[in-house]
């Protein structure tokens, strides 16, 4: 063990694998980074469950931030309890918890062995994709609260939010998959039974021929009435909105094919085209299913309720009492703990608030609030407990009202695609050809008229367009997904390509959320002075003080006397005989400076101003290069809720035409987007926090940036992993390629049809060759779209 402590390498925590920077705890021959991690190990060790550590190395998540002991006391409330449980009877209760920390096979193993830790748990089952654990427990032995606390004690704190209250779990719609399965089954069998027809059958075996034909007719019924209903409903829906989408001509083609085939079989004149019909329905359904593959672990529809706690502590006659969020009323007094969200606008009646609004407004520094000041819902308290008097109900609070306001968008999903427009022209041309054919045959040979017209309608179905579109979309969606850009649906690909103006949020989007880069400018400090400053800074909880303390390093053993903290201004105290002060320019120099730059901390020792610490936003890697590349192609804008400290740098990056707005409230952001749209621009907004929620909705395409996929993102059209933001320009290029691929595949399929018709008209094409060519042409379209979109993917270096 001695060997480890003297080793120059920072020991890694046995539980979570993080570097033990601040302190190293030794226990059981192992290193731990914090008491929390060690505790989890002890619990598992006691129960003989250390397999947890052998399945994956360092499987835990850091436990440095402690969870308040009575955090889950609201689960004792029967009303809240009953809204969360899935099912309950006399001897067992089923509950499903969302545990975002779940990430590896060890997690899976541990969460499915909960019954070994707590006898009251009957069983537990993990859904890894959704990061949910379904737990069945005996409520006579244990309680919901105890189960939640058990999960928390082993490092999987369940995330329970306001939106869980009485919300129905959405189930994935699998009807399309069933339809696809049925269509595939019927298609394959119809193909098989069509061969005798094509290969020719002895006239002696005519009965057999009829048998096969009727079997085909029978097998085509589920395709026609069940599988193809997908297209009927979609076509009918759009017709009701007086819109002709691509499904309408396809439905016509399917009906005409079916009617003509039924007629041929019943009249004994031919074998029909059931194989073609079921084949095309099968391929088109497959395209749809692939295209609509959703990312179940992500949600694109979140509103504020997903961020708010389900219950808070209310002070009732000096007694703390748990109350569900909707039951908060005006003039209630709420107790807000450290790291807890303020659920409603209120006035502070006790304690000092240090509120982190970064997620709500984009300001990167917590705001100090005194007793009697108003705090807005959505901020997170980052200090000791405070009490607030509610002055507005939850749904009426300033920020919740803003998030609730639906941006006036005219997004009609699925109906804006260029494919529908194209298919409309196609349909019009098709019907004119059919009408022309009908009149021509009517005067030449009326008995052949219906044959000719139906043939035209069958051959000229725009199904190739639908096929190439859905399969290209599916492939591009998957490729973008592999690069951690998740789109809400396929329409977003086109929106991404169509955008002609890009707006960025700053804090959390271009930069990482916190001030990370700190530089000291001024007279050099001695080691002794540095430690003295650090010791003073360590007394304060202000994030800038903490950063200075960390910079100064070891600050133990310094005596501090006369420490005073003036909120919003600075701190001072006597360290080793020297009076040291840290704080704003005004606090230290007594001079008002022109700029109100909150990210500079001045330092003085014995009344002499030595210099200042400058805090800078830390830009994400490769962001400056991305901005320079984009600036050549698009008008850019940065709309930030933060102060204008970075204006100069951004101006230099984005050029003189870029719009730079600072100190923007969430409503201003939305207004700015609307203003750009009024100029006829298609706006792409890229943001992260709830302060961008309105703007993300208003924009033609809103992309939410997420540090990791489990984080909560506001409602948006797409979710992008923060590390992948530098690839944004390539994502746009790939989306633009989408249209090219679809059109190319469509043109090729039209050529196919033309060649096919030419041969068919001359009577050189045998029915069997035609029947084989039909699925082959569909499959070749799939290969073309797949190959081309992969080619573009490689070209834009997207794996």
């Amino acid at each position: 063990m001695q060997k480890f402590t003297t080793s120059p390498v920072t020991p890694k925590c046995f539980h979570c694998g993080e570097d033990c920077n601040e302190e190293v705890l030794h226990a059981y021959d192992k290193d731990f980074c914090c008491g929390g991690c060690q505790m989890v190990f002890e619990i598992l060790n006691r129960n003989g469950m250390c397999d947890y550590y052998s399945i994956s190395t360092n499987p835990g998540t850091s436990r440095k931030i402690k969870v308040r002991e009575d955090k889950f006391s609201f689960l004792d409330d029967a009303k809240i309890c009953s809204s969360l449980v899935v099912f309950s009877n006399d001897s067992q209760t089923h509950i499903s918890f969302y545990t975002p920390q779940m990430h590896c096979s060890s997690c899976l193993w541990l969460l499915e062995n909960l019954h070994r830790l707590e006898p009251g748990v009957i069983s537990s089952k993990v859904n890894f994709i959704k990061k949910e654990v379904d737990i069945v427990f005996d409520q006579r032995v244990t309680s919901l609260r105890k189960v939640a606390e058990l999960l928390t004690s082993i490092g999987y704190e369940p995330y329970i939010s306001f939106s869980d209250l009485g919300a129905k779990k959405t189930t994935v719609d699998v009807s399309k998959i069933y339809k696809l399965g049925v269509a595939g089954f019927c298609f394959a069998n119809i193909m098989l039974m069509s061969f005798p027809e094509y290969l020719g059958i002895d006239s002696k075996e005519a009965n057999l021929l009829y048998l096969f034909r009727y079997a085909n007719l029978f097998l085509s019924l589920p395709v026609f009435f069940y599988s193809a209903s997908e297209f009927y409903t979609s076509a009918w829906k759009s017709l009701k909105h007086r819109f002709l989408n691509i499904d309408a001509p396809i439905v016509v083609a399917v009906w005409v094919t079916f009617a003509r085939s039924v007629y041929e079989i019943l009249s004994g004149t031919g074998g029909g085209y059931f194989d073609s019909m079921s084949g095309i329905v099968f391929f088109m359904l497959a395209g749809r299913v692939l295209q609509e593959k959703t990312y179940r672990q992500l949600s694109f529809e979140r509103d504020y309720t997903a961020y708010f706690p389900i219950a808070v502590t209310k002070i009732n006659n000096e007694q703390p009492q748990t109350v569900a969020l909707p039951d908060i009323q005006l003039n209630d007094t709420l107790l807000i703990h450290n790291e807890e969200l303020i659920p409603a606008d209120g006035i502070i009646t006790r304690g000092k608030a240090l509120i982190d609004y970064s997620f709500v407004t984009g300001e990167s520094l917590p705001v100090m609030k005194e007793m009697g000041e108003i705090v807005y819902a959505g901020g997170k308290q980052t200090g000791a407990n405070i009490e607030i008097l509610v002055i507005k109900e939850v749904a009426q609070s300033y920020l919740t009202k803003l998030w609730n306001r639906k941006a006036e968008t005219n997004k009609h999903d699925e109906e804006r695609s260029f494919v529908h427009l194209l298919s409309r022209y196609f349909t019009i041309i098709l019907f004119s050809i059919a009408a022309f054919t009908a009149t021509w045959w009517f005067f030449t040979n009326a008995s052949l008229m219906w044959n000719a017209v139906t043939a035209v309608l069958i051959v000229a179905c725009p199904c190739a367009l639908l096929l190439s579109n859905t399969f290209t979309n599916a492939n591009i969606l998957r490729r973008l997904g592999r690069n951690h850009l998740y789109l809400r649906n396929a329409q977003v690909i086109e929106d991404l390509a169509a955008a002609d103006c890009i707006v960025f949020d700053k804090t959390g989007t271009l930069t990482t959320g916190r001030y990370q880069d700190m530089v000291y400018e001024g007279e050099p400090l001695s080691i002794h002075q540095k430690h003295a400053i650090g010791a003073l800074a360590a007394q304060s909880n202000h994030p800038l003080s903490k950063a200075i303390a960390a910079w100064a390093g070891n600050t133990n053993g310094q005596m501090i006397s006369g420490f005073t903290e003036t909120p919003g201004k600075g701190i001072e105290g006597i360290v080793a005989g020297d009076l040291i002060a840290l704080g704003s320019a005004f606090f230290i120099t007594q001079k008002r400076t022109a700029g109100n730059d909150t990210s500079v901390v001045f330092v003085s020792i014995e009344e002499k101003v030595y210099g200042h610490f400058k805090f800078q936003n830390h830009y994400r890697d490769a962001i400056p290069e991305l901005l320079q590349r984009l600036a050549k192609q698009y008008p850019l804008a940065v709309i930030s809720g933060d102060n204008a400290g970075e204006q100069k740098y951004l101006r230099q990056l984005l050029g003189y035409e870029a719009i730079l707005l600072f100190n923007q409230q969430p409503a201003d952001k939305l207004e700015a987007i609307r203003h750009l749209q009024a100029q006829g621009k298609k706006v792409m907004m890229i943001g992260d926090g709830l302060n961008d929620a309105g703007a993300l909705q208003q924009a033609d395409i809103g992309i939410a940036i997420s540090e990791n996929n489990n984080n909560f993102t506001p409602a948006s059209d797409a979710i992008l992993a923060a590390s992948q933001l530098p690839k944004l320009d390539r994502f746009i290029q790939l989306s633009k390629a989408n249209k090219k691929v679809v059109l190319a595949a469509f043109v090729i399929s039209v050529l196919y049809n033309l060649v096919g018709i030419t041969f068919a008209v001359q009577g050189v094409l045998s029915p069997m060759i035609a029947a084989i060519l039909m699925p082959c042409s569909s499959i070749s379209i799939l290969f073309i779209t797949y190959g081309m979109s992969n080619y573009f993917g490689h070209r834009f270096r997207l794996k």
Partner: protein, 66 residues
Amino acid sequence: MSVIIILLIASISVAALFLAAFIWSVKNGQYEDEVAPAVRILFDDATLVSAQKTNLSTEDTGGQKK
């Protein structure tokens, strides 16, 4: 030629069996989580016993739910 009819019935029923299996697997939620089952099967013996127990009890409760 009745043999062809028998073969026909046989081939379609086999195919129908697979269709039924497919529908059952979708209904059973086998496509909802592609990661967990692959990992679960690799846990060693001591774990396997408890995992089986877990499965058993979930089935039990599933029955009672209905």
